[in-house]
Symmetry: C2
């Protein structure tokens, strides 16, 4: 009963076995959405620049703004997005809030992308 027909589409030329096999093995919609959100967050030049900067040193918000030539507001907004995606962590010290990459795993995430980009 778990094997329903393909009801969403009536195209021809289908390799039914392959299609059915693949359908059963697909990642859950939720996982896809999580992945989508992760890569979407990384898919912005500003945020990548921030990540790049933070991979070089822990920095407070206005350091990041100065290093990248951006407004404080824009940086803060984007750090919020990065924080929500668990890509950066922060630490308060007096009036400043210091940001850094969440863990080494994140560095790897960037490294794999860099490898692909440079592999041209």
């Amino acid at each position: 009963m778990s094997d329903r027909d393909i009801d969403t589409c009536d195209l021809q030329c289908i390799h039914e076995e392959t299609v059915n096999k693949v359908r059963k093995a697909l990642l859950s919609e939720e996982t896809i959405m999580d992945l989508q959100n992760l890569y979407k967050v990384l898919g912005d030049g500003t945020r990548l620049s921030i990540m790049n900067a933070l991979s070089l040193a822990e920095m407070c918000v206005c350091d990041v703004a100065a290093a990248l030539g951006m407004s404080q507001s824009a940086v803060s907004h984007q750090l919020r997005v990065l924080k929500a995606a668990r890509l950066v962590k922060y630490r308060r010290e007096g009036k400043q809030v210091y940001y850094s990459l969440d863990d080494d795993h994140i560095t790897q995430l960037l490294a794999v992308g860099l490898e692909h980009v440079r592999h041209q």
Copy 2:
């Protein structure tokens, strides 16, 4: 002469040494743009689903459409984007065009993302 002042921003609270050190070590704008484009392409549920499907089997366009319940047009449009980003490759056989992931490197790119997502 390579060490210009910070002219784009006049914020206070700057750790000048850190900022200057980081500025010098930042990736080039071009590299950032390439990375942005890569992750932006991956930052879409439809394209991730297609990648997911192709990681399970080589498939022709209408197989992908059937497996994911999408229109042929939408799939074709997205495959074009994936192709441009060198994430998938294709092979013509008669009227069909078979797509698959470009190489093992791409599989790794997805795997690292998956790891992060599941690491919650």
